[in-house]
């Protein structure tokens, strides 16, 4: 068992984690067809963004990144709110949230 007291978390670790989160998010949007899962994946991408900002901000001792994260959180919430409202509306009319069912515009 490694000695936890000597384990240091560096900027690199944060950035790697956030890159991994980001790509999980992107692949979620690209490969999943359930609209709610796609929204969740987008939230994951935004989490990765926030993590990068916070890690860099802490490393540099700069407040800009913190401010950015606060705004990004608010914007993400607004986006999710609008997105879910549209989803509710579309589910009421169509009874499905599988994006592959939405092909009316491609005909």
């Amino acid at each position: 068992m490694p000695d936890l007291t000597t384990l240091h978390v560096h900027l690199g670790h944060y950035l790697t984690l956030s890159a991994i989160l980001f790509f999980i998010g992107v692949s979620g949007v690209v490969f999943r067809r359930n609209a709610i899962i796609m929204f969740m994946s987008i939230e994951l991408m935004l989490t990765a963004v926030n993590l990068t900002f916070l890690a860099v901000s802490r490393q540099l001792g700069d407040h800009q990144g913190h401010v950015f994260v606060l705004f990004a959180l608010a914007v993400a919430a607004a986006e999710a709110g609008v997105g879910l409202a549209i989803l509710v509306e579309i589910f009421k009319r169509r009874g499905s949230i599988d994006v592959d069912d939405f092909r009316k515009l491609m005909e």
């Binding site: 950035l15 956030s18 980001f22 998010g25 992107v26 949007v29 609209a35 796609m38 929204f39 987008i42 991408m45 935004l46 990765a48 963004v49 990068t52 900002f53 860099v56 901000s57 540099l60 700069d62 800009q64 990144g65 401010v67 950015f68 705004f71 990004a72 914007v75 607004a78 986006e79 609008v82 997105g83 549209i86 989803l87 509306e89 579309i90 009319r93 169509r94 994006v99 939405f102 009316k104 515009l105 491609m106």
Partner: protein, 495 residues
């Protein structure tokens, strides 16, 4: 980061649009959503006052306000005119549109509040001078766009367009923010000019810089629907109510270009004092942009060829026009950027005009199919004549404004000896002639199944004519407008 009231003095037109938004919401509340005309009047009054303030408070130099978050300069000032004009025209013709004002739509008042807030967002996009402002203004415009695209919520096509828009839009803004976070990590700054200084100091790896820049560009590219970030455009443009489509094709696109130009220039480009520019890093931006421009216009035009739905065709044609506009951006020369600004203004006029005709016809025909336009040249001569002018202008044929605008773009390319791209642009214009003229052919040379006029409202026809006149006049006498576009780029010479 200090706030002073003297800063706010430069921000009047935007502040008025924000107040107009609140006033529209309140008016709608007071009238209980029944008197939409009142809300519309509030919006129009607010836009006109904002326009008046824009005219009065013309900035002569660059003013950095709100702690350098926002910059008010002649460049932003030029775009204020474009956005206020687009908002005004959209507001007026939304009122006469069946899709917006039809029987089963409640809450029309909200629609006008969204128009106001979108105009505010677009104005800030043209003024953003910080990654935070870039992200916030793009989100403000985007989130409003998602709602407006799904405004006809009883229509399956509209809600579907809205869902596709919000999914891909949210993803692209996620990518853009990640790019912003990488740039922040590389330079330790979020201000555009501070980013340039950080990059000049030579921080970070080339690869990280490329990824960060490409991600931010992807976000902006999505807004202006440049290939390969265009895939949402045809579906959203076709599904959204036509007035909203008209707005999308003129407003946010111009705002995206404004942001693209400012971001690129302030954070990547070094001016060498003599008016020439050099790019900061070793990445081949001109090639990247030239290929993007070539693919965008070719793809847009080829896809437009096989469309029979006029609205969808105009969606593809708007992608092609983004390709033309990017041509002016490729070499980052002053002449190219001046041509872009001029083109954006002309494009807003002619494209709004073409969509206005589609709206007018949709009100009566309940269709945007090309076959239904048969014989309109005889049933509605004024409308069909105006449509022909807009189509000529979109193709870029003399003596219309579209020709002059396109001429300046090609001239800038030829000046910089980028022959292959100029040639491709000309070839693309020839392709576009085919599909634009197929609408005209349908209107004039296909016999109509019915006869008699459509009984369109006089106001609607008058508005179409009001847009057709500048399309023709600016094709013959354009120097004042061109001079305005040229002078608004002065900030580039200052460095």
């Amino acid at each position: 980061m200090n706030f002073t009231w003297s800063d706010a003095a430069y921000f009047w037109p935007e502040a008025i649009m924000a107040l107009t938004f609140i006033a529209c919401v309140l008016t709608d509340l007071v009238t209980r959503g029944r008197r939409h005309g009142v809300t519309l009047s509030v919006l129009i009054a607010g836009t006109v006052v904002s326009l008046a303030m824009t005219v009065i408070k013309a900035p002569e130099a660059s003013h950095y306000v709100f702690g350098q978050m926002v910059v008010i300069d002649p460049f932003a000032h030029f775009f204020r005119y474009v956005f206020l004009f687009v908002t005004l025209v959209t507001a007026v013709f939304s009122y006469s549109s069946r899709e917006i004002m039809g029987k089963d739509r409640e809450n029309q008042g909200e629609y006008y509040s969204f128009l106001a807030v979108m105009c505010f967002g677009m104005m800030v996009m043209a003024e953003a001078n910080d990654l935070l402002m870039l992200a916030l203004s793009i989100e403000l415009v985007s989130i409003t766009s998602y709602i407006m695209a799904g405004y006809a919520r009883f229509s399956l096509r509209s809600t579907e367009a809205s869902l596709k828009y919000v999914l891909w839009g949210a993803m692209s803004s996620g990518v853009m923010l990640y790019g912003a976070s990488i740039l922040y990590g590389l330079t330790g700054a979020t201000g555009f000019s501070a980013i340039r200084e950080g990059l000049l100091a030579g921080s970070g790896s080339e690869l990280a810089l490329l990824v960060g820049m490409l991600f931010v560009l992807a976000g902006i590219g999505y807004k202006i629907s440049a290939v390969p970030f265009h895939f949402w455009t045809p579906d959203v443009y076709e599904g959204a109510p036509t007035p909203v489509t008209a707005l999308f094709s003129a407003g946010p696109k111009a705002a995206g270009f404004a942001l693209l130009i400012r971001f690129f220039y302030t954070s990547l480009v070094q001016t060498d004092g003599t008016g020439g520019v050099t790019l900061l890093e070793g990445i081949q931006w001109p090639w990247l942009l030239a290929i993007m421009s070539a693919v965008t216009m070719t793809w847009g035009n080829l896809a437009a060829l096989r469309q029979t739905n006029v609205k969808r065709m105009l969606a593809y044609s708007s992608i092609a026009h983004v390709g033309y506009l990017l041509m002016g951006f490729v070499l980052l020369t002053q002449a190219g950027l001046q041509a872009i600004l001029f083109y954006l203004l002309i494009y807003a006029i002619m494209n709004l005009g073409a969509f206005l005709v589609v709206i007018a016809l949709n009100n009566r025909l309940h269709s945007e199919h090309m076959d239904d336009y048969a014989g309109l040249g005889y049933r509605e001569p004024i409308l069909a004549g105006a449509m022909t002018i807009f189509l000529f202008s979109l193709t870029g044929l003399p003596p219309t404004a579209g020709f002059v605008a396109k001429f300046y773009l090609f001239a800038a390319l030829v000046d910089s000896q980028l022959w292959w791209l100029a040639l491709l642009g000309v070839l693309n214009s020839v392709i576009s002639l085919y599909y634009y003229m197929s609408i005209a052919r349908s209107m004039y040379f296909t016999p109509a199944t019915e006869t008699g006029g459509l009984g369109l409202s006089r106001a609607h026809v008058a508005l179409v004519v009001i847009l057709a006149v500048p399309t023709l006049v600016l094709g013959l006498y354009w120097s004042p407008v061109k001079a305005l576009a040229d002078s608004s780029l002065a900030f580039l010479l200052g460095g």
